[in-house]
Symmetry: C2
Subunit: 206 residues, 2 copies
């Protein structure tokens, strides 16, 4: 299917389509169109049709997309037709909020361990998890064969944590620390930094 | 300066440049180049030069960019040479983590109020804040003249909250609820949904 040739920006829109379709399904809907999807997302219908056409023929001219089928297909494409185990590194406010968040599972992910280096936190409970000493990180991740991790540690510790995760075999890192990480080319990193989003908006304010 | 003509994607990269420059400054650095900045961010040097040239002439051929000066200029462009007050709606795990996070102030933002609709939460302390009844949201925001808000409520309440915020005069919303919001054209929305980022990465995993 030539997955590697799909532009990253197209891949980036597929989760948005999937999320909207899942909302529609919950609303009891069965069929939608690229127009409707586009209006919900602020993306043009033509862009949506073009993006989806890179992966196959999912709708019919005039009848639109069958929501459940398109969810199934997009889930397969994004490989969230399974549930990925994740580790969280950092048991502070953000790490704890993420570990307690129940909205991941329906969408392909579940937290399975949380690590910290603070002796005051190691061994304590965060939601359903006992905080594990970061010294055990590499072993535990290897043993469990986990490929997905979240970093929720202070900025000055994040690169060290990323290095440990990479060594442990992690291939996808969601980084909440406000800095860019350096990782090998086969490791993906995505960033969540609320200030970056805020600054994108204040540009337009008076 | 024709701000309105700058493509949104260019505006979106400026906060990343600013963040990297601020890290460099903290490291005691004085001068940098588009090459170095590009390497830190995984963006080409040519792209960075092109983006910055839309706003003026910030560096000299051969001598690079003076970090402190460029920080000053980017802060002005992004309007974070001041501190914006923000409200947080939703005093759950995410809202509380955000309200407690101290990393905003240096970068142009501070939380000034947190709201919830849960009688069990109203009046309790979250960090330095007493949770305010959401019924008072419109009045409080008007009175304080606040333009920036974060939504950290369940998905099924987020659109109602967005409507209240818009009515109160908010012009920039950072939405942590996992759905697309519908707002008037003069209101900006940015989204933080960790699952969207995770799904972008699993596409590339085996």
């Amino acid at each position: 299917m030539g997955e590697k040739l799909i532009p990253d920006i197209v891949v980036g829109r597929l989760p948005l389509y999937l999320r909207s379709l899942q909302h529609m399904l919950k609303e009891g809907r069965q069929v939608t169109s690229s127009q409707e999807l586009g209006e919900r997302l602020g993306i043009s219908a033509a862009q949506i049709r073009k993006d989806l056409s890179q992966f196959g023929e999912f709708g019919k001219q005039g009848t639109g997309y069958h929501i459940e089928y398109l969810i199934e297909q997009l889930s397969q494409i994004l490989k969230v037709d399974r549930v990925w185990n994740m580790v969280v590194v950092g048991a502070g406010d953000i790490g704890s909020a993420v570990a307690n968040y129940l909205g991941f599972v329906d969408r392909g992910f579940q937290v399975s361990m949380i690590f910290d280096n603070d002796p005051a936190k190691i061994g304590t409970q965060v939601g359903n998890f006992t905080v594990i000493d970061i010294a055990a990180l590499e072993d535990e991740i290897h043993k469990a064969g986990i490929q997905v991790a979240m970093i929720a540690v202070p900025a000055n510790e994040a690169q060290d944590v990323a290095n440990m995760l990479v060594k442990a075999g992690v291939k996808a890192i969601l980084n909440y620390a406000p800095l860019s990480l350096s990782v090998p080319p086969d490791v993906k990193v995505q960033y969540i930094d609320p200030t970056i989003h805020l600054q994108r908006m204040t540009f337009y304010l008076d």
